[in-house]
């Protein structure tokens, strides 16, 4: 009447206002948490590949060393993607007519190479260097997760800047002895030297690791 409003108006307005408030809160929470879900980070999502390559089989099963295929990892920023030839060194002898491996043989025969789908990659303005991480005792699994047990390969870290910074700001807990770097299922044991000890041993200066220019050039 005076407001030209029905009796329910008060309730309606109060409900409406609280709904708006609630909505804002949810929006905030979603904005906070959303980027970390698996869809946004592409974590734990298996990428389709021309050949269902199993790290579990080759690494845990056959005990191949990471460097057998990723040859450049110790000397180059890029770990290196094995040439088809590398596959064929074994598969010209074994599983020679496994249909699963047909694309590999095709590629080798025709010279039209395989097209793997990238699993871990960084935006173009980020300059990551494998060799220095490996040299300073950061293990493969530290970033690539339980790669040795992956039947098919997936991404196991968000690779967000803040994720990188977590380690760059405080590397000690993530370091391991040299010999353990390529060990896919290494666990810290009581007699492994402490992170701080390794930090000193490797001459790592954490205060320099959060420089923007470490990754952005």
């Amino acid at each position: 009447m005076a407001n030209g409003l029905g009796p329910g108006a008060d309730l309606a307005v109060k409900v409406g206002l609280s709904a708006v408030a609630l909505g804002l809160v949810c929006l905030g929470l979603w904005g906070w948490g959303g980027p970390w879900d698996d869809y946004s980070t592409q974590r734990n999502i298996v990428q389709p590949q021309p050949v269902p390559f199993s790290h579990r089989h080759h690494v845990s099963g056959l005990g191949l060393d990471c460097r057998y295929c990723h040859t450049a990892v110790e000397v180059s920023s890029n770990a290196g993607l094995p040439p088809v030839q590398t596959c064929m060194t074994c598969h010209s002898q074994i599983w020679t007519n496994a249909t699963m491996l047909e694309p590999v043989r095709q590629a080798y025969a025709t010279g039209k190479t395989l097209r793997w789908n990238a699993v871990n990659y960084l935006p173009d303005y980020v300059f990551f260097d494998h060799s220095i991480h490996v040299a300073k005792g950061v293990g493969c699994t530290t970033c690539h997760g339980p790669i040795g047990d992956m039947p098919l390969t997936w991404k196991s870290a968000s690779l967000y800047m803040s994720w990188c910074l977590d380690c760059h700001a405080n590397p000690a807990p993530h370091l391991r002895p040299h010999e353990a770097v390529f060990d896919p299922n290494w666990r810290r044991t009581p007699d492994t030297p402490s992170g701080e000890a390794l930090l000193r041993a490797y001459h790592i200066h954490p205060e320099t690791l959060t420089d923007c220019s470490v990754c952005h050039r």
């Binding site: 005076a2 407001n3 030209g4 409003l5 008060d10 307005v13 904005g31 906070w32 980027p35 970390w36 968000s158 967000y160 800047m161 803040s162 994720w163 910074l165 977590d166």
Partner: protein, 452 residues
């Protein structure tokens, strides 16, 4: 002579509680929008379209469509920004500062001033975003938890400004709305049809005007006024810091903050005059917005003009006093260099012309007042243009000196924002009581009494 001007009554004849309420409400709720309103909206709307086109061009093609270059990396956008925020600040000064001084004449002008503030601030708010090289990422200035784990750089004057602007716009809206609540109630009660009544009923939040409500209202309104008065000063001081925070000769100056505040109030008052004179005629509010109000504002404008002139003088004195070759070069260059003309036009518009306001006759002539107000507004834009451009185009490194000129797109953005401002203000005219009714009632009560 001047006595008569000053003695002009604060209320015209036939002022009464009912009359003030009806006059202000009826133009909105009882009368259809007049023709002039439609024409004005159409006209300013056209400029809004221009703004949209210019902005699209900007977002699609890039900042390169503007005249900005190295060394003059800031151009129109920044001048426009300071100009608009200045106009906005002027409004708040009138409504907040003079509320505290309890000056009677404010009551008839504050609503116009505040509405002007809102739309001025809105236009101002657009500019820094347009100005960015990557407009879409402006939110990176906001401190929010992000996956990059990085924060804004809190030492940057630009960041201070970003916060100041957001806070200022937000606070101004609340202040404006709080003042409107009782008036919306009046509108609600005057509304002839249910839709209007619902519309204003909701806006009025169920205001009844009980003694306790009035008490709380007064307390809060007073406190908000106390807060906004210093805030507007601080906001425009920070705008001044955007420049004096840098080391560019012509920017790196201690007096910038007060100097900018003077300028802000100056342009603000001019704009209020420019808007008020036609509004009082078109809405037949001569009874409540009288020669007295025009006279006071005109005098204020004159005072601000003098303060600003003083700042100009100081600005001219400093290089010679310091003897710093960079400052000297910049200043002489400002007077006689490539942009020399702009400086003298600025002096003419901001310092010389307004001296006419010493004459009561001028203060009484609405036409002259509007002309002067306009010239001040233009002059103030030129001042900002000079501060931005003539400081940058020849700073430290002679080899890097180069000139700047706005492109058609720069002008489109400027004119477009003017269009946006007027469109916004026209909307306010149409839907909001343009004079604070409840406060006018107090005036009427005090001068005329309560009976019709």
């Amino acid at each position: 002579m001047s006595r008569t001007a000053d003695a002009a009554p604060i209320l015209g004849p036939r002022a009464s509680l009912a009359d003030v309420t009806d006059r202000v409400c009826d133009v909105v709720v009882r009368q259809p929008a007049p023709l002039w309103w439609w024409v004005a909206v159409g006209l300013s709307g056209a400029f809004v379209v221009l703004l949209v086109v210019a902005a699209s061009e900007l977002f699609v093609v890039g900042i390169g469509t503007w005249g900005v270059n190295i060394p003059v990396a800031w151009g129109f956008a920044l001048a426009n920004y300071v100009w608009w925020i200045g106009i906005a600040s002027g409004g708040t000064i009138i409504s907040a500062l003079f509320y505290l001084t309890g000056s009677e004449w404010r009551r008839a002008t504050n609503r116009i001033a505040e509405s002007m503030t809102l739309w001025g601030a809105a236009c101002a708010g657009l500019m820094p975003i347009f100005h960015l090289g990557r407009q879409g990422l402006f939110y990176w200035l906001f401190p929010y938890p992000n996956v990059m784990g990085i924060w804004p750089q809190f030492r940057s004057p630009l960041l201070w400004d970003f916060f100041a602007l957001i806070c200022y716009i937000f606070a101004s809206i609340l202040f404006w709305y709080l003042g409107l609540v009782p008036d919306f109630a009046s509108m609600r009660d005057r509304a002839p049809t249910t839709p209007w009544r619902v519309f204003y009923g909701l806006l009025a939040l169920g205001w009844r005007g009980s003694a306790s409500q009035w008490k709380t209202y007064q307390t809060v309104y007073g406190i908000l006024a106390c807060l906004l008065a210093p805030m507007v000063v601080s906001v425009h001081s920070i705008v001044g810091l955007d420049f004096s925070g840098g080391l560019v000769p012509g920017w790196h100056s201690l007096q910038f903050s007060p100097y900018f505040v003077f300028g802000a109030v100056y342009s603000g008052i001019a704009t209020v005059l420019l808007l008020m004179i036609p509004v009082r005629r078109l809405y037949r509010l001569e009874t409540y917005i009288t020669g007295r109000h025009l006279n006071v504002l005109a005098k204020l404008m004159l005072v601000c003009g003098l303060m600003l002139t003083y700042s100009y003088g100081l600005e001219a004195f400093m290089p010679f006093y310091s003897g710093n070759i960079f400052d000297l070069h910049m200043f002489l260059n400002r007077l006689y260099g490539h942009y020399g003309a702009t400086y003298w036009v600025k002096i003419a518009l901001n310092c010389v012309l307004p001296q006419l306001l010493w004459f009561p006759a001028v203060r009484r002539s609405e036409i002259l007042l509007m002309v002067l107000a306009l010239s001040v507004i233009v002059g103030m834009w030129i001042e900002r243009y000079i501060i931005v451009v003539t400081s940058l185009y020849q700073d430290f490194m002679p080899s890097a000196w180069y000139v700047y000129a706005g492109t058609v797109w720069d002008w489109s953005i400027l004119l477009g924002s003017v269009g946006l401002f007027f469109t916004g203000f026209l909307v306010v005219l149409r839907f909001v009581p343009i004079v604070s009714i409840s406060e006018m009632r107090e005036t009427v009560h005090e001068h005329v009494g309560d009976r019709p």
